[in-house]
Symmetry: C2
Subunit: 427 residues, 2 copies
C-alpha cells in the first residue's frame, strides 16, 4: 500500500469529478463515492425529458471517466454519515467505513418543494434521470389516454404547467413546445393540440433572474413566439392532481405539473454534524474548508461559500467545477506544505436555450448573444463540455437529425424500472 494521503470525494457530479481529475494525477490516493455509477450531464437533462436524448447519452460511467487515473478508486454507495473526528465515512451498505486524510463533500442538491402543498404528490421534479424519464412517459401517456377515449376529455388534460422561470424551466418549456408542436401533433392527428398549452409560471417578475435584462426579455419573447404562456409574478399555493392554485386564489387546470422552482443542498448535509447555512448548505470559509475542520471541504451545490462581495456563489456547474479544481489544488499545496490563496470564481458566462435557433448567452465583457448566434454558441459549448467523444458524436447526430426532421426520436414509453426477475411480462 502507498503512503500517500488519502482523499475521499463524496459525489461524482461536476465538482467531485473536477477534483478527482486533478488529484488523480498522483499526489494522493483518491476514492470517489457516489450512489450512482455514472456522472450525469445535467444541463441536457431537459432533453431526456422531451425525448430528444436518451438517458445513457447524458450518463457517463464514473469508472470509465476516471479509468486513466491509476490513483483513483471508485465506490458505488450512499454515504450515511461522516465522523470528522475519527476521519471516517460510513456507507449505507454496511461495509467497513472509508478512512480519509482529506474529505471533499460534493453531494450536490435535490429538488426543493419549499413546503408547497401537493408538490411531492402531484408535481414532476426534473433533477435526476428517473425524473426526466418519468416526466416523458407521463406526458406521452396522457396523449395516448385521451386519444383512446376522447369523450373523457377534461379541461387542461394535455396542458403542462412548468413552475420556475430559471434556466431549467425556460429550457424545458421551450423544448416541450417543440415536442408537442411537431412530434405529438404528428403522432396524434385526432387530438386538438390547440388545447395542449404550456404555461411557464414564475414567482418573481422576470424569467432567468441571473441573466442580463436583454437576455431575460429576449427569452420571454422567444418563448411567447413559440406559444408558451409566460406567467410572471405568479406564486403557486398548491398543486393538485389536475390543477394548480395560485396565491391570488385563481387556478389553472393541468394534466402535468413540472416543479422546476429550485433546489436545496442534498439531505446528506444534515447528516454531517457540520455547521449549515440558512439555505441548508455546509458553511465553508474562503478556502472552501469547513471552519475548525481544516481537512473537510465542501463544494458546489452542497456548500454555502461566500464571494468577496458577501453573496453566496450561484448554483452553477461552472462554480462546482472551479471549486472542485480549487480544493484539489488546496489539498496538493497542503500536502506540499504551501499556503493557498482564497477561492476566486471566474465567470465564464451563462446560457439558456429556448429552442431551434434561439438561445440566450451572457458572456464575460458584457457580450450578450441571442437568436441563432446564441443557439450555435450554446450548441458548441455543450458539445465541447459533453462527456466523451462517443457521446459527443451520438448527441451531435441526434441534434442534427432533430434539426433537419423536426423529430424527437426517443418517444417510446419504456418502463425500464421493472427489474426483478418476476417482472410483469413474465409467463
Amino acid at each position: 500500500m502507498s503512503a500517500k494521503p488519502r482523499v475521499v470525494i463524496v459525489g461524482a457530479g461536476f465538482g467531485g469529478m473536477a477534483a478527482a481529475r486533478v488529484l488523480g494525477r498522483g499526489v494522493a490516493d483518491v476514492v470517489v463515492v457516489d450512489r450512482d455509477n455514472y456522472h450525469g450531464f445535467w444541463p441536457l437533462l431537459y432533453q431526456v425529458a422531451t425525448a430528444g436524448l436518451d438517458a445513457q447519452d447524458i450518463a457517463l460511467p464514473v469508472r470509465r471517466s476516471l479509468s486513466r487515473l491509476p490513483g483513483v478508486e471508485v465506490r458505488l454507495g450512499a454515504v450515511e454519515r461522516v465522523d470528522t473526528d475519527r476521519q471516517l465515512v460510513f456507507l449505507a451498505d454496511g461495509n467497513a467505513p472509508l478512512t480519509y486524510d482529506y474529505l471533499v463533500l460534493a453531494a450536490g442538491s435535490v429538488t426543493a418543494t419549499f413546503g408547497v402543498d401537493g408538490v411531492a404528490e402531484h408535481a414532476f421534479p426534473l433533477k435526476t434521470i428517473p425524473d426526466a424519464v418519468g416526466l416523458r412517459n407521463h406526458l406521452i401517456t396522457r396523449f395516448e389516454r385521451l386519444d383512446a377515449a376522447p369523450e373523457t376529455a377534461q379541461p387542461g388534460d394535455l396542458d403542462v404547467v412548468v413552475v420556475g422561470g430559471g434556466p431549467t424551466g425556460v429550457e424545458l418549456a421551450g423544448a416541450l413546445s417543440e415536442l408537442i408542436g411537431a412530434d405529438l401533433a404528428r403522432d396524434f392527428p385526432h387530438l386538438d393540440l390547440a388545447h395542449a398549452m404550456i404555461h411557464l409560471v414564475e414567482m418573481t417578475d422576470q424569467l432567468l433572474g441571473a441573466f442580463s435584462v436583454a437576455s431575460r426579455e429576449r427569452a420571454r419573447r422567444d418563448l411567447v413566439a413559440r406559444g408558451v404562456d409566460v406567467k410572471l409574478g405568479a406564486a403557486i399555493r398548491r398543486v393538485a392532481a389536475d390543477h394548480v392554485e395560485f396565491a391570488d386564489g385563481t387556478s389553472l387546470p393541468a394534466g402535468t405539473v413540472v416543479w422546476a422552482a429550485g433546489v436545496r443542498p442534498s439531505p446528506l448535509a444534515t447528516a454531517l454534524d457540520l455547521p449549515l447555512s440558512t439555505r441548508g448548505g455546509v458553511v465553508v470559509g474562503d478556502d472552501l474548508s469547513v471552519p475548525e475542520r481544516p481537512t473537510v471541504f465542501a463544494i458546489g451545490d452542497l456548500a454555502t461559500a461566500i464571494d468577496p462581495d458577501g453573496r453566496p456563489y450561484p448554483q452553477l456547474a461552472s462554480v462546482a467545477i472551479q471549486q472542485g479544481r480549487y480544493v484539489a489544488h488546496v489539498i496538493e499545496r497542503r500536502i506540499a506544505g504551501r499556503p493557498t490563496p482564497r477561492f476566486q470564481y471566474r465567470n465564464r458566462g451563462i446560457m439558456a436555450t429556448i429552442g431551434r435557433r434561439a438561445a440566450v448567452a451572457d458572456l464575460p465583457l458584457g457580450v450578450h448573444l441571442g437568436g441563432s448566434l446564441g443557439w450555435f454558441s450554446w450548441l458548441g459549448v455543450h458539445l465541447v463540455f459533453l462527456m466523451d467523444t462517443r457521446r459527443r458524436a451520438l448527441v451531435l447526430l441526434k441534434w442534427a437529425w432533430s434539426y433537419l426532421t423536426w423529430e424527437h426520436g426517443s418517444r417510446a414509453i419504456v418502463n425500464e424500472g421493472e427489474h426483478t426477475p418476476a417482472g410483469p411480462h413474465r409467463a
Copy 2:
C-alpha cells in the same frame, strides 16, 4: 366515417406491423393495438442487455412508424378478451370495445419457464426491454458490490449461467464474454475476472438446433474460444438465488442466471376462447385463419400454423413478417371477393452472432457463412432491417465505436422506472 372494412390488429411486433403496412395502403381502416407504444426490434435485445445499445435504439414508436399510412390508427392498450361472435375487442382500460370486420391476432410470445422451480423468482428473462435493462443493471451491480466488499466473495458471485442454447442464449453468451472481458475488466481492475465465468447451458446435445451442423459446430467453437463454458445435454432442475441445479444432481454456483430456454404464446391466447394447440398457440388453417372463424387470423409466435410437411413453423421474425403480409393480402382479396392461395414460407436464412468478427449464417441454397464473412453479413442484414434511418445511423455509430475501442458505452445503471412524482431522489 368511411365504409371501408375495419381490421383490428392486436400486437405491433414483426407480424402485426407487416400486416398494418400492407393494409394501411388503402383497402381497409386499420387499428393497431399494443400494450406498448413502440415496436421492439428484438433481434438486438441482447445488445441492450450487454450495454452495447440503449433501449430507445431498438424501440420505434408505433405511431411514427405508421404515420405515413392515413388509414391506420394506433391504440395503446392491453387486450383483455375478444368476442368473436359480436366481433368486438375489449381492452383493459375499460373504454368502449373496438369493433372489427377482420381481426389479426399477433400478440407474440412470452418467456416460458416450463415449470422449472425457481425460474420466476431467481432467473432473469430476456424477452422485453425491461428484462434487458434489469439484467444489465443486475450484472454491473454484482461487480460493484464485490468491488466494494471483496472479503464477502462467494463462489460464482460474478459467474453467469445462461440457460438455453438457441440464438438468444448464444448471442447473449458471446456478448457477455466481450462485456466482461473488455469493459468490466477495465472498470474493475481489482477484481479477479478469471472467476467471472460464463456458462451456456443447453438441454439437448447441440447449440442452435435449427442451424446446419457446420454452423452449430462453428458457433460452439467460437464461444469456447471466447472463454464461454458450453455445457450440452445439461437440463436444469432448479434455479436458486445463488446457484442452479442440474437434473443429474450436480450444481453450479452463479450470481446471475439468465433464462433464455424458450418462449410460449402470449397469455392472451388462453383468454380468446379459440382452439389452442398443445404448445398453447392459436390453431390456424392453411390461410392462417381460425377454423370456423374465417374473419379471425392468428400469426407469428401466437399462432400454431402447420407447414406442408406437417411441422409447425419456427418462431422467427421472418415467419411473423411473411405471415403478416400474407394475411393482409388475404384480407385484401377477401374484400375484393377473390380466393387466396395457402400460406407459403420462404426461408430467407437464419443467423446468429457470437461476437467480434464471428457469426454464423445459414442462407438458402445451402450457403453457410461463418467468421468475419458471417459477421459482416449479420451486420448488414440487421442494419437494413433496423427500423428507421435515424436508428440505423445511431446503431452503426455505436457498433463502429465499440468495434474500434472495445467499449460498450451504456454501462450506467439507470433505474428509469422510479417514475412517480414522489420518487426516491425527492426532497
